[in-house]
Each structure stands twice: as C-alpha cells, then as structure tokens.
Subunit: 384 residues, 2 copies
C-alpha cells in the first residue's frame, strides 16, 4: 500500500480556474474549508481537520489535478471516496492515508479496471477534503463536482442514485485496513449493510463507491461545487473585512448558479441543546431564542446534518434545502458537534440544487425520509 | 448465475467408499443427516432441511465427487461453504441455490482463480448438506473433511484458524443475492463484521471463506468426518432394529478414530426450557430431571450449540467436547430449536477431535470463549 511521493509540481496559480482546472493553494484551503463547512449544513465532520489532511497531502504528493466533469471521456471510470461515520467520532480520528489508498484500490480491483477520476460524495465538511487527499496520494484527477451539493447522512441520498446509477460495488475500510465490499440491488440496502459494518468499525471509515462512467458523471452529479465552496468561503472572508460577513454570505449564495437564493432566517442565542450518537448518527436538536424578542424561538433538528428549522413551530426551511447555523458576527459555520449553550448565532437557509428536488430525488431526501412529519416546502425568496 | 444441469451420472454404489471417494445414495442421506445432527451438538440448523436440499441437488445435478484431502494437489485451492445464522431462522428459509453459486463465484473472483474443492465449515446439521448442494450444483469436488468435526457458533472457531490459515476473503450472500466480501487481519474481526451483516440480512445467509491450499487442507481440517457422520447415522439405525439405539451410538463413537470415547451422561425429562434469538444466535438453556431420582438434575446451556452439561451444578461435559441431547428410545438427535417441555431424553457426550484441544485451539474454543466461567475438563472414559 506504500505510495511513492510524486515529484514536487510547479507552483500553481492560487485559486485559479482556467477552463476545466481549479488549483487550491494553502490560503485557498482555508476559504474552501469554510465554504464546505457552510454547505455541510452542520454535518460532514470538522472541515478544519479536513483542511489539515488536505494540506499535508498536497505538501507530500503535490496538487491534485481538478477537472470539470465535461473534461472526462464518456467511457472513463469515476467513483466517489469519503469518510463515513458520526461527525463526533470522525473528529477524533483522521484517515491515515493507507486506508484511503486501500478503499480506492479495492474498488478498482473489484471493477477490474483503474479509476480515472475521483469525486466527493458530498461537498460538506471533512468529505470535501478526503477526495483531495485521495487524488493527491494516488495521482488520480479530482472532479469539480459532488453527489449532493451539500451533505446528507446516508449513502442513498446522492444524485447518482436519484439518476439511476448503482451504489455498488461499495468498499468500506477501517483504520486497521480491514475491508468490506458490499454489492446490493439497491442503494438503500447498501446503506443498511454499510452502516452495520461502519458501527462495527467504530464509526470512522473510508468508503469508495458509486462507480460510474464519464457520461454518467456529467449528467448525474452537482457540478462546480468545489469552486462554489471556495467562493462562499472567500465571500465570508471579504464580508468580515467589510463588516457584514453574514450579508456577504447570503448575497454570494443568492448569486450562485447552483443555489440561487438564500436568506437569513433567525438571529438569536442557543438556549437548549440535545445531541447523542445513536444508530450510527449524531442525532439531536437545538433551540435558539431571539435576542430582541424573547417570544420568538427557532428549533433546529439534525441527523448529522440540520434537517428542519421551525420558528415557534412553523417550518421556515426544511430538507433538502440547506440550513446552516453560523456565528452571528463572523458568519463562521458551526457544525452540529460544535454547537454550545449560549452561542450567539444566525440561521441561514439556501435553496437546494435543482437535482435534489426532482420527484425521483424526493423519494430519497423528502423530509419524511428523515422521519419528519412535514411536507417539503421549498424556500422562497423573502419579499424585500 | 444460471447453471446448466449436468447430465445424469451413472448410479453410484450406495455409501461405498473406495480409496478417496464416498458416494451418498438417497438412503445414505437419511443416515448421514442423522449422524450430522448428532455431531451438530444441538446447532447447525435442521439436518432434515439439509437432507432435502442435498437430495434435490443430487437429483438435478448428479452426485458430487467426494474426495479425501490426501487426493488434493498441494497447490489446489480449497474453501468452505456454509449457511450462517440462527438455527431458528435457518429452518424457516432454505438456500435457493443461486445464493450458493454466487458465494462461491464471488470468492473465486476475489481470489482470481477457480476453487478446486469445497468443504463443510462444520459437520453439524444443515451445514453438512450445504457443501453437498454447492459441489453438486457447481461440479466442484467436495472434501471428506470439515473445519470443526462438530458444530460451533462462530467463524473463528475452526481448525483452519487454529492452524494459522486466514479466514478472509470471506463472502456473505443473502437470498436477494446481495453480497458482501470481508477482508480482515483476524478471524475474530471477520466474525464481528460478518455477524453484523448477517443480522442485517435476516440471519439466513450463505457464506464462503477460508481459502487455502491443498497442502493446508491436509493438515488443518478434521478429515473423514463425512464418512463418520454416515457411520454414526447407520449405527443409530442398526441399534434401533436391535433394540438399543443409544448403546449402539455410544459404541460407534467410542470406536471412532476421530472421537475415541463417548458416554451416556444422563437420562431424564425436560422440565424447563429458555431460548431466545439474540445478538445473532439462538441462546438458552434447558433443565432435565432424572426419571428415577428426582433429586438429580442436568442443566444444558447453549449458544446455537450445546456448551456445557452440569449435573446438580457439577460439570459433566463442556466445550470443546461434544454434548448432544437425543431421544431416550430412538437416539434421534434433538437440535436446540426442537427441544420441548416434557421430552424424555438422554444426554450423550463425546470427546472432541484432537485438533480442537491443542493450546492454540483452546484460545478460540475454551469454555471462557463462550462466556462460561469453567475450566476445560476433558471428558474421561467412565470406569466400567
């Protein structure tokens, strides 16, 4: 499993996107991680651990080539690579690298052909970084795209599945390099097997799955999300300097071709928080009370990711739309496992990417798929 | 996955063993199933379901070639095939055949070479029949040997593991042809992953694993156990006609080169029985009271298989030695899931095969491995 480090590559232009290529400098990785944390909607693990992993891999192996799905040959082989588990556990362990190599290698062995490009399963948190690490270590190009345009807790909740691509063969590897390959008729069944193995592996594993062709990757992924995460992070940073971080964040999301509109739902202080790791997930909710009107409260319920925001019991935003809690001054996204009593926060919602709200997508990411007894009411741009 | 039925083979001589070959006729299968039920020590699933599966497969595909491990080339590839789950569930479902084919095929694919011979994981119950079905369906020779010389509940409890052979790659397939391939550093870790997947598959799956060479199969299996099961079944049948079924069973076991001695531990009636399917096993115990002296009781504790026999609290027999409850008149072995209140039974114990009592074997099948707080006191031949 040992990798020979590749020779240092020529220094790339910071954050430069030219045609089908994006290069993430060390400075960019800060912005990228912050943007990915926002898109992680509370889940996906700690983006700063992800950033450190990506920095180390780039230092050792050089920058991965990041390409647009459009640059793929139609018969290329693409797969995703990710960490899987409960964010509370993911933050205590980091992938060694050998586990990432093994997951991709096992998948290629099972397919009987090499993987031509890797992609993130989700753009949120640590899982925006794991594919960067994998692509750098293995010298395989990385797609500027992901399977969700956000983060979701389960493996059937990806655009590839909504668009009819098989989840399996699906590989799971633990830190001791034990590995499991799952092959099932449905992505939901794969999720059940994978979750039971992941629980046994201590809820911190590397997975590789959803092998597909280049042609499939072009139509069945959310494209441009690596660039989007970088731009969101940059907007927050620029907004801080200009004195309106949250405003800059909301404006950037509203201009995005992927999300299209967003709003600042609530401004308040966390007064109640319940969180437990159960059935392989970080489950819980928090309550926020308005700073100016104590009769107004917002409740946020989460399963790894934030699922629904209720103001005094009325739905203000709900999956598959994005809900992220951020620091009310700095707009720093706060993962569910970092929520604390007394934090002063704003709740930001953004419209889901188009491929998450199709009828076939809602079979997998409708609020009822998360056990919520609500309809999906898409976020509407507030009149202003 | 479709199999072309092989042409009918010439009718074989009933129960004939010549050199390295054993042929099981339909009549033999009755005796063989009864003998395997005895060696199953209460577990391994219902041998009569196994017999029907084997009969059907032989009718459709012809007799499998049964060979001695000595007949293998040293570089041949051998693996075991079995059903895995709780006997209470195994009896409600039977393997379709396609699941057996897929388990063996997936293992061969992962190894990158064909399987030259199959063997039973254990000689008990349904798992003495599944390899017959597999060998008949796939036209692969079957070894006259198994991994335990009895039945045990977990996959690390086989002679191959005691003798240093890796359990993995290990394949699990369910009735819907979902499949999982596990690769671990230890057999105990493989057991944990396999059990969690098996629970998710509804505790009735086909497994294939412990790939090894012919040279390994010669030294690290219990050889001759298919013949032994047949001879035990025949001895019971002959004993019934002579009016002493239990006596004939005990005599046959005492003459066996594999078991060497056996005894009739207890004669009584079942007065208490507790049984539940939990953590992937059929767990429980039963109490038997003497027919002649009500102050004498025997308690039998089981995890799929019978683990310990205590007379008024004192150990009379304990794993890895064999303990089987039989009908007191017919010596019919009674699996744990067929035990009933009021049954009149005898408890028979037999010495474990030599390879189960080595120091390295006792690391896996010592009474404490089953949560029993007793030393292993090998069965001694009673003075008579």
């Amino acid at each position: 499993m040992a990798q020979t480090p590749s020779l240092p590559r020529s220094l790339a232009v910071s954050g430069h996107t030219s045609g089908d290529e994006l290069v993430l400098s060390a400075a960019d990785l800060h912005d990228f991680a912050r943007g990915a944390a926002f898109l992680g909607t509370g889940g996906g693990g700690d983006p700063y651990i992800g950033r450190l992993m990506a920095q180390n891999a780039i230092r050792e192996f050089g920058h991965p080539k990041i390409i647009s799905p459009e640059a793929l040959a139609d018969d290329a082989t693409v797969a995703f690579v990710a960490m899987l588990g409960a964010p509370t556990v993911l933050n205590e362990k980091a992938a060694s690298g050998a586990d990432i190599d093994l997951a991709v290698t096992r998948l290629a062995e099972r397919l009987g052909r090499p993987i031509d490009a890797l992609m993130p399963a989700e753009i949120g948190g640590v899982n925006s970084a794991v594919p960067i690490v994998a692509a750098a270590r293995l010298g395989i190009p990385l797609l500027n795209a992901d399977g969700m345009g956000r983060a979701f807790p389960e493996i059937q909740m990806v655009v590839m599945n909504f668009e009819g691509i098989r989840a399996t063969p699906f590989v799971i590897v633990d830190e001791h390099l034990n590995s499991v390959i799952v092959e099932t008729g449905s992505a939901r069944r794969a999720e059940e097997f994978v979750r039971s193995v992941a629980i046994n592996m201590g809820l911190s594993c590397i997975v590789a799955g959803y092998p597909m062709t280049g042609a499939e990757a072009k139509r069945a992924t959310v494209t441009g999300t690596l660039t989007e995460a970088l731009e969101i992070g940059r907007a927050i940073e620029a907004g801080r300097k200009a004195g309106d971080a949250v405003g800059a964040l909301v404006r950037r999301l509203s201009e995005s071709a992927i999300y299209g509109h967003a709003c600042d739902l609530f401004d308040g202080k966390i007064v109640d928080l319940r969180r437990e790791t159960t059935a392989g997930f970080s489950m819980g909710h928090c309550r926020i009370v308005s700073l100016t009107d104590p009769s107004r409260t917002m409740d946020i319920q989460f399963q790894n990711e934030n699922l629904v925001a209720l103001e005094n019991g009325a739905v203000k935003a709900i999956v598959p739309d994005l809900i992220t809690i951020v620091d009310r001054e700095t707009a720093e996204p706060i993962p569910t496992e970092a929520l604390r009593y007394g934090q002063r926060v704003k709740v930001i919602a953004a419209a889901a990417p188009r491929l998450l709200t199709t009828p076939q997508a809602l079979e997998y990411v409708h609020p009822r798929c998360f056990g919520l007894d609500f309809d999906f009411t898409p976020l509407v741009k507030p009149a202003d």
